[in-house]
Amino acid sequence: MSTRPAATADAWTLADPVAVATRGGRAWRRLVRRPPAVAGAIVVLVFTVIALGAPWLARTDPLRTDWAKIRKPPTSANPFGTDDLGRDVFARVVWGSRVSMQAGVCAVLLAIAVGVPVGLVAGYYRGSLDQLVMRFTDAWLSFPFLILAIGLVTILGPSLTNATIAIGLGATPTYIRLTRGLVLATNAQEYVQGARAMGAGDTRVMLRHIVPNIFSALLVQATVSIPGAIIAEAILSFLGLGVQPPTPSWGTMLNTAQQFLESAPWMAWWPGLAIFSLTLSFNLAGDGLRDLLDPKDY
């Protein structure tokens, strides 16, 4: 067995959090003082496991219709009941977590992939390029998020991929602005000027000195934007502009459920509860992460 100092330090901190004044120890102490953040992170982890393990967790096929079981209330065989086509709601909720997580994470990754480099270059070089980028960003931000996503889906056509692209592009200007602002602040720091004085090139200064220092703020923003992206995907699918049937997604399930509120209310409970608990957990975890990385006395 190889020795892993980091892991050992962590284990030690776990055993006696007060004794160790390492950075990890401080972070851990701050975290344990916030049980909601820990709970949020655990639930996010559980949803990730559910999304990855969907084929093993949902033993019934989420697409299999059964005319003998149309809109049946929860039973031991179908713990969340069945839907209007006799499909197992539990299996559909489990598989739906895949769609939601995938859309949420991919949309935010797209926003980061486009927004961070653009913001980095704009904030680093300033000048007319910066002005151009910022005016475009302002204009882009002037479209209410959903209206923009709807407009993009109209052009691209409704599908999960296009909805994800639309949500990602909708979130991009936030990252451009955030990165630019962070770069402006970091650029003025003495260590960056020092690096430049020592002859470091632009690329080196950006990648070695600026990016690592703005990383934590971007990470916090990502944790905060993922729940937004998950809700946006659910909304687009709910409106019929995202995932197309019969693929199980929480948004489309709620769309169908709305037609059967009187006869089969359970169809509306579970997918909504799933979205709610996942986004709430992301927000709790994000709040905790923010406290951890940017401790402000709020």
Partner: protein
Amino acid sequence: MAEFLLRRVAISMVTLFVITVIVFTGVRMIPGDPARVMAGTDADEAGLAEVRQKYGLNDPIAVQYVRWLGLAVRGDLGESIRTRESVVLTVRRKLPITLQLACFAILIAVGIAIPVGILSAFRRNTLWDYVANGLSLCGLSVPSFWLGIMLILFFSVRLGWLPASGFVPLFEDPLGNLQRMAMPALVLGTALAAVLMRQTRNSMIEVLSADYIRTAYSKGLAARAVIFRHAFRNGLIPVVTILGLQMGALMSGAVVTEQIFVVPGFGRLIVEAVFTRDYPLVQGVVLLTASAYVLINLLVDISYSVLDPRIRVTR
């Protein structure tokens, strides 16, 4: 002040210009013949020729843009493919309904968020603060359409107190209007209340730790006077800005809320337009929404600078 105003207005004008370019090119990116896109699939040759002539679709793209912009500035955003009604008229008919919904939502949100936020700031880290914060986080996380469905399930299906959907104009049947608007406004107001409450709390905490508040207390002023005369005014400035910035979210929220509660407003209009591939209507609605948002933000910025003179100097 004049320089600040001019600069701010100039920036808004540039933003508006970029918006028109985005909207114009957006519609051009729809695959197929632009004349067919603008006139609809069931338009005949004469209809297509008319559209080609009106928008000069054979001219270079820059000329087409200028012509389209000229028409848009004069209030001609084309006509709906489906109803053949002018886009501006359609919007004018639908907008008051959404505005009413938005006003109710703002009233509900402000009515909840500001008192709760102020109390939370004063009783920081008490049970009240934790509960309020928890509720605000729930309000931020709950998907509005699910909240809407749950309200229908409870108040309409289970209790039978409120109608689940529909709309009657305010002046025709005020009580019926309020009954039908209550749930949509609550749904729309929830997310806004959550955002505002957090902002109120944080900005009040910041203000309460300022020196002049300590001075006010040490002068022997009662807590009530300190809150209302000193902390309240300064603490609420950021809240006003956030409220302005939330207008976009409110418009997005209206799209979903109107869809659930079948409110025939602006938001439902855009979803219907997308489904019927009514491109001129989508284009017009998107352009108007974005322009309105830019104007609202301009007004917020200006009012902000009036309330807080430091802004004018630092920007």
